[in-house]
Amino acid sequence: MLRSLAIISLLIMGGVFIYVIEDMPPIGNPENPPHVHVVPRYIEKAEEETGVPNIVTAILANYRGYDTLGETTVIFTAGVSVMILFQRWNK
């Protein structure tokens, strides 16, 4: 029962995705939405606003600073949880 339900929902979702493929922007087109929204601003202004020549680092550490802080917290939390789990495990 559950298995057939899973297969049916998979088929429906797959059909929806295949139907939507036509509306996807072509790969590599410079007019695509991600390339016209904020990217020109980054390319033009990243160095004079953040002072680093590497645009990836500028976005990672300055424009998306919160995101990177969250990533670091995730890594820290992973380390702490493994530590706590394995110390409990051995007692």
């Binding site: 953040t50 002072g51 380390g79 493994v82």
Partner: protein
């Protein structure tokens, strides 16, 4: 305390020669993350890998003697503290959280931002390096039957 060391002389000699270079390369990747590909995450993993290589080739107990759990936990927390502390310092001097460029230094805003980004990368590198090392030592110690209690804090 059983010594589990790789027997091969070649592996031991090569890794003894190559580990300092791996660490140097990791520091290079962290500190030059502003101007070339790389950054805190990548450099931190490279630094952690050098310690993992040491732990594989020489015994795990030697690694535990060489680097203590306290130091690793300290570095892990210190890295995160550097990152969030820089954000808090920006807030103290009238900026938004993580808005670089408000520090009371005689620098222009982009230079201050570059300095803050370097500090942030170093913080990320510390955190990632010690987390990777800690994960390896904990999991490897579990596998080879070494008790975690034997790793002195």
């Amino acid at each position: 305390m059983s010594e589990k060391m790789v027997e091969s002389v070649v592996a031991r000699t090569i890794s003894r020669i190559i580990i300092p270079f791996i660490q140097l390369y990791g520091i290079y990747v962290i500190t030059h993350g502003e101007s070339s590909p790389g950054g805190g995450f990548q450099g931190g993993v490279i630094l952690g890998t050098s310690i993992i290589l040491f732990g594989i080739v020489f015994s795990l107990n030697t690694t535990k003697k060489w680097i203590s759990k306290k130091i690793l936990i300290l570095f892990m927390s210190l890295g995160l503290l550097i990152y969030s502390g820089i954000g808090a310092i920006d807030m103290l001097f009238g900026g938004k959280y993580l808005e670089y460029g408000k520090l009371p230094l005689p620098l222009h805003s982009p230079e201050m931002s570059a300095l803050s980004i370097l500090m942030v990368e170093i913080g990320i590198g510390l955190c990632v390096m010690s987390t990777i090392t800690l994960l390896f030592i904990f999991l490897a110690g579990e596998k080879s039957g070494t008790r975690m209690d034997s790793w002195e804090i």
